[in-house]
Amino acid sequence: MKIDVKKSVMEANNEMASQLRNVWNDRNLTVLNFISSPGAGKTTLLERTLQRLSGKLKAAVLVGDLQTENDARRLEVYGFPTKQIVTSGTCHLEAHMIEKHLQFVDRVDLDLLIIENVGNLVCPSSYDLGEDAKIVLLSTAEGEDKPLKYPGIFRRAEVTLLTKVDLVPHTDFQVELAKQNIYTIKPNMSVIEVSSRTGFGLDEWVKWLEDRVQSKKSRSTSGLPLPIRRS
C-alpha cells in the first residue's frame, strides 16, 4: 500500500526557526547569520565590526565551531555578550542550538544578534536559524568561481562581503569576475569589498548593518508588515 508522506527533512528545524523569528520580530531584533568557508575572515571581520558598533548598538554574539572557544574569547573582549556553541562535529548550526544557547546572551533591549556559523559553505546554507538575513563572506584568497560552485548559499544570502581585498595586488584574484559570478547566481546581491586589516570598506559595511537594524525598527513602528523571508 502506498502512503503519501510529503514531510520535509527540515520541518523540525524550520518550525523552531519560525518560532525564533516570530519572537525576534516582536522585539524588533535584527538577526544576521554569517556564513563562509573556513578562513575567509568571519571572526576578524566581526572583531572590526564590534569595535565600530561599541556605544552605537546593543549587540550579542553566538559563535559556532566544531571545537574550542577561541572565537568567542576573541570577540567577547569588545564588551558584547558572547557565547560559544561547540558542535563537537556537526558542521553547521541548527535552530535548536540557537534556541538553547540564546539565554546566555539575550538581553531585553538588544538591537542586533550576530550568529557566526561554523566555517562551511554547504550545510549552513540549508538551515534556517530564524535570521533576517544570511551574510556570506568570500575572500580574495579563494577562487572567483566559488559562487558558481556553491550556488545555494550565494542564492540565499542578502549580502556578499568580499574580504581580504588588501591581498588583491599580491594574487591573481579578479574582483570583477568574482562579482560577475555572484550576479549570475543572484543578480540583486549587495557586494561590499572589505579589508579587516586595512579598514577598507568597513565604514560602508557597518553603515549597511546600522541601516538594516534601523529599517527593521522603522517598519515595526510604522505598522508595515515585516518581510517574510524564505530560507
Partner: protein, 120 residues
C-alpha cells in the same frame, strides 16, 4: 558528514510514519532531493543503507532518491522555466526577477508498506 545527518532525519520520518502501521513492513520509501540542497545522491543512499539497520522499521526498506530540478518563476513574464547552468535568469525573457519554485527541499515523498494480514 552532511549526508549522514540528512539520512538519519529521513529514517526518523519514515519510522514515525510507520507507527501508524505497526504490523506492516516498510518495503520502500522515496525521497525527493532538490538540486539546490548540495546533496550527493549516491552518498545519501550509502548513508541510508548503513543507518537503516539501526531501526527495526527500516531494516529492510529499499530507498529511492529522486532529484528535483530547480525551476524559476519569472515575475516579469509569468513563465516558469528550468534553470540552466546555474544561471538564475528566466530562459523565456532573460529577466533576473525570478523566484525559485522547486529544487530547494529534501522531502520524504512516499513509502510503501506491506500489510501482513496474518501478523498479530
Amino acid at each position: 558528514m552532511h549526508e549522514l545527518s540528512i539520512a538519519n532525519q529521513i529514517l526518523v520520518i519514515v519510522c514515525t510514519e510507520a507507527k501508524a502501521f505497526p504490523t506492516a513492513d516498510v518495503s520502500s520509501a522515496t525521497v525527493t532531493v532538490g538540486r539546490l540542497m548540495a546533496v550527493e545522491v549516491d552518498n545519501l543512499l550509502f548513508c541510508l543503507n548503513v543507518l537503516k539497520t539501526n531501526y527495526p522499521e527500516t531494516a529492510n526498506t529499499h530507498f529511492a532518491i529522486l532529484e528535483e530540478e530547480v525551476n524559476l518563476f519569472c515575475e516579469d513574464c509569468g513563465q516558469t522555466t528550468l534553470m540552466q547552468n546555474w544561471h538564475f535568469f528566466c530562459t523565456a525573457c532573460t529577466s533576473s526577477s525570478v523566484k525559485t519554485v522547486s529544487g530547494e527541499g529534501i522531502i520524504v515523498t512516499s513509502m510503501e508498506v506491506d500489510l501482513d494480514e496474518n501478523r498479530c
